[in-house]
């Protein structure tokens, strides 16, 4: 067997790691482990000189395994794997120990942090001893794309891709294209018609030779992997087998149900309405109370379901500006009406938005601030002879007084929630949700529209609350990512798939049901299970379910994992 020669590189990450971990001591200690030929520390391993150092050492010291002890592998594993490849080493002969997110950023005792860092590196070194070279697999990219969701985001993405000459399958759950923007009258801050934005998009999509639109259609399951996905969709009683190379998920949002906040008496008091209902009235040009009469006093309450630990902690980002937009529209439609903005914080970021706030505040609108941390406003029916329908009672923060605002109509600026079926779609395409059920991006800053599943992108409000320009930007960003992959023509796929040792498999078939990708079938003749490597995503579920050990999850073998645990807990070098 080839002699194992391991190089270990401990990163300072500037002061990020070095201030809490004695990186020099870690490198010095690790150098004494068996098979470790060289151990170094360096300011920024991910920098060009850092990577070049690894490449040079691999060549000079004939290293055949490398451990980098730095940040999360989610950030730089691929960077260092590439460095190995540049030095002519198989990229899987690499292991990363995360001593930043898992050590320096979360501890405050330097000595103990150093011991923990040392333990993690010991685990990584132990593991890399058992790493095996794996062959790369390159697959052709099918230039077609499936776009899930026919709102402004999905439409923009579809057109971007189709205009470049690529097939797009646009799948929309409802019977109409346009999504929530179709229900909006005017957009902020320019007060332009939303229809002007949307109608040309819909027209182009419906008439584009490269776009196939499937309305009233949902996705149950998507099989395959980047470059080669497939799915059977049901549309209008017919089944369609679609094949595509990439996916854009643009499933959008669901408005918050204000019935959950009892003090607002939504659906109990007739003239407490949501921002969506007001949009509809404005669009129809008929803002009236339930009894058909004109409201003399209209109050708009902000942050309904947003920025509140009981509902959603996040800010929904568009409600403040929408509320200002309503004030403008109502001021024009009903010049005599009293308008109240009952807000918690006015958030008017974005191009032209602060200016819009300033101009709106000059239009005879009363701004009142409620305390987001205290009790929410309470809406109740006014006395018969009060001269107005409802009273809104709350502590007005700026004046420091408890007040009652009279209103004939109350508009609730409801929060944006992730789409109610976000979970189902996530399962179908194999992506993850963050805590609040919006889809999670691969990197919040550097890769905001990709997901951890190659070939699946997210755009628009399914990723988090945002306005139209941001949604469209994401749509076009996702499309650009896909166009780049189509232009390359091929893609390298992970080969860390599961493999069955037919000499050991006993045919118990425990694995078949556990595979989330239906990648395992049973060969009756040989009495063994068979993994379809094309479908396998290497999740490892079958490997842990297999009672015989016949299934190995490549790069995550029992041997590799157990040796890592052993290194982690070994009593060697526990003091610094």
């Amino acid at each position: 067997m080839e002699e194992k020669r391991i190089g270990v590189y401990v990163c300072w990450c500037g002061t990020n790691i070095a201030k809490m971990v004695d990186v020099e001591a870690v490198a010095a200690k690790i150098a004494k482990l068996p098979n470790v030929v060289i151990a170094k520390d360096y300011k920024y391993m991910c920098s060009d000189p850092g990577q070049e150092m690894i490449v040079k050492d691999i060549k000079e010291h004939k290293l055949n395994r490398v451990v980098v002890s730095a940040c999360s592998p989610r950030i730089h594993e691929l960077t260092f794997r590439k460095a190995l490849e540049n030095a002519g080493l198989n990229q899987y002969m690499f292991e990363m120990a995360n001593i930043r997110e898992q050590v320096s950023w979360v501890h405050d005792n330097r000595e103990e942090a150093t011991i923990k860092a040392l333990d993690l590196v010991k685990g990584a070194v132990n593991r890399v001893n058992f790493h095996e070279a794996l062959d790369k697999r390159s697959v052709d990219i099918n230039p077609a794309t499936m776009v899930i969701g026919g709102g402004v985001t999905g439409l923009s993405a579809a057109l971007e891709l189709a205009d470049a000459g690529n097939k797009v399958y646009l799948v929309e759950k409802t019977g109409n294209l346009g999504g929530h923007v179709a229900n909006i009258d005017l957009t902020f801050p320019g007060l332009n018609s939303a229809a002007e934005v949307l109608e040309p998009l819909i027209y182009k999509v419906n008439n584009h030779p490269e776009v196939e639109v499937y309305l009233n259609t949902t996705i149950d399951e998507v099989f395959g992997y980047v470059g080669n996905f497939e799915s059977t969709i049901k549309s209008g009683g017919k089944e369609y087998e679609l094949k595509f190379g990439n996916i854009i998920v643009a499933t959008g949002l669901t408005p918050f149900d204000p019935g959950k906040i009892s003090s607002y008496n939504y659906e109990k008091l007739p003239d407490v309405i949501t921002s969506l209902e007001l949009e509809k009235m404005l669009k129809e040009g008929n803002v009236v109370k339930k009894d058909g009469s004109e409201p003399k006093k209209i109050a708009i309450i902000h942050c309904v379901g947003s920025r509140n630990a009981d509902y959603h902690e996040y800010c929904s980002r568009v409600c403040c500006l929408s509320a200002l937009k309503f004030s403008n529209q109502l001021r024009s439609a009903l010049p005599e009406t009293n308008l109240f903005q009952i807000y918690a914080d006015m958030r008017a970021f974005g191009k032209g938005c602060e200016e819009f706030y300033a101009s709106t505040s000059k239009k005879d609108v009363m701004f009142l601030m409620y305390d987001q941390q205290g009790d929410l406003p309470r809406i109740s029916k006014a006395e018969e002879d009060a001269g107005y329908e409802m009273g809104i009672e709350f502590y007005e923060k700026l004046s420091g007084e408890d007040i009652i605002v009279p209103a004939d109509m109350v508009v609730l600026m409801v929060a944006m929630e992730a789409h109610e079926e976000a979970k189902e779609v996530a399962h179908a395409v194999g992506i993850s949700l963050c805590g609040n059920e919006f889809y999670i991006e691969r990197h919040p800053k550097l890769d905001p529209v990709a997901t951890t599943t190659d070939g699946v992108y997210i755009a628009g409000t399914c990723q988090g609350p945002k306005d139209i320009p941001d949604s469209v930007s994401q749509a076009k960003a996702a499309a650009a990512r896909i166009l780049a992959s189509i232009a390359r023509g091929t893609v390298e796929v992970e080969v860390t798939t599961a493999v069955v040792n037919e000499d050991v498999c006993c045919g118990c078939q425990t694995c078949i049901k556990v595979c989330p990708y239906t990648a395992i079938s049973f060969d009756e003749e040989k009495n063994v299970s068979v993994v379809n490597e094309i479908l396998c995503k290497g999740c490892g579920t079958c490997g842990s379910a297999c009672p015989t050990g016949a299934i190995r999850a490549r790069h995550f073998t029992d041997e590799q994992i157990l040796s890592q645990i052993e290194g982690l807990f070994s009593k060697e070098m526990q003091e610094v």
């Binding site: 006993c506 118990c508 078939q509 049901k513 379910a545 015989t548």
Partner: protein, 323 residues
């Protein structure tokens, strides 16, 4: 048989029930072939040799030793080391020597716990003086000694170097004869450390029951709680069967007797810890997504530790309870 000189053979029991020694006797009329080919130089259950006779032998004097039983006390260990010195081929014979076996379940407790139970709290015991076994007891006539009872049970290979493992509780006698004949006829032996007399594949491969991928369990049942049709995979009937994680080679005798596999043949070479493997496999079969319901279903497993680690605890990753 050939004119070859007879080989010298020993059989010893450590912490064992005696079943392994009986399995050697179970060769029946083939015993004639055995004694034609081998001289038994040490076998406490059947022949009257003393330890000092073994001590007097030259190193490597014995060609083949079948050591059955686990290492529970200092005597087991002492004789294991002695026989290792005197033997060319040392075989861990049976589940206890191989993996710790039933005595190995003692590792869920320790010496004190076991002594308290055995000599104090068991329902049939009256021991007001709280007498416990001692390694030395001074009597007027002199000092009496007993082997030291260890805190935990070890497998044979945790105290001495082992050449081969012949698994089973007890091993199938036919397998023993095959292995024995291979040795006496000078056939090429497998690499040191191999498990012999067993298959590389697990029991399902030779089990004749019908298996599908429909292993979904809503309720765990004990064998007497099902109306077994004699054909359907036990797991598919909700009965825990260690077959998938246990080497074949036994001829599926328990299954043929309509009892699920208990795991005595141990794991295949690809699985280090059959208990962990089987728990993990069983967990995937539970037919529920509701944590509370899953908890209820799991609670139906009577004695999970003893079920999944019945024969293998001292050789497993957990090895013993840290008391």
């Amino acid at each position: 048989m050939s004119q070859k000189p007879k080989i010298k053979m020993a059989v010893y029991w450590g912490a064992a029930c005696g079943g392994c020694c009986v399995s050697v006797l179970d060769v029946h009329e083939k015993l004639l072939d055995v004694v034609a080919a081998a001289d038994l130089v040490f076998w406490p259950i059947a022949l009257d040799f003393k330890y000092k006779d073994v001590e007097a032998m030259d190193d490597d004097y014995i060609d083949l030793t079948l050591y059955n039983g686990a290492i529970r006390n200092s005597e087991n260990e002492h004789i294991a080391k002695l026989l290792r010195k005197k033997t060319k081929i040392l075989v861990a014979y049976g589940s206890c020597a191989h993996m710790g076996g039933i005595p190995g379940l003692g590792n869920f407790s320790d010496r004190k716990g076991i002594f308290d139970r055995a000599y104090q709290t068991s329902e049939s015991t009256v021991n007001e003086e709280k007498t416990r076994p001692q390694t030395e007891t001074k009597m007027p006539e002199g000092t009496l000694t007993l082997p030291e009872f260890y805190n935990d049970v070890k497998t044979l290979d945790q105290v001495v170097d082992v050449d081969y493992y012949l698994p089973g509780c007890p091993p199938q006698t036919e397998r023993l004869v095959e292995v024995f004949m291979a040795i006496v006829t000078g056939a090429e032996l497998p690499p040191k450390g191999s498990v012999v007399g067993a298959l590389e594949k697990t029991l399902c491969d030779e089990c004749e029951r019908e298996k599908t991928d429909e292993k979904v369990i809503k309720e765990f049942k004990r064998p007497w709680e099902i109306e077994d049709d004699g054909k359907t995979c036990f797991l598919e009937q909700g009965v825990i069967c260690m077959g998938p994680a246990t080497r074949g080679g036994c001829g599926a005798r328990c299954i043929k007797g309509n009892a699920p596999c208990r795991g005595c043949y141990g794991p295949p070479s690809t699985a280090t810890d059959p208990g962990a493997k089987m728990m993990s496999a069983i967990a995937t079969m539970i037919d529920s997504d509701d944590p509370e319901e899953i908890e209820k279903i799991i609670d139906q497993v009577v004695d999970p530790a003893g079920t999944f680690y019945r024969f293998s605890l001292p050789s497993s990753i957990i090895r013993k309870t840290i008391v």
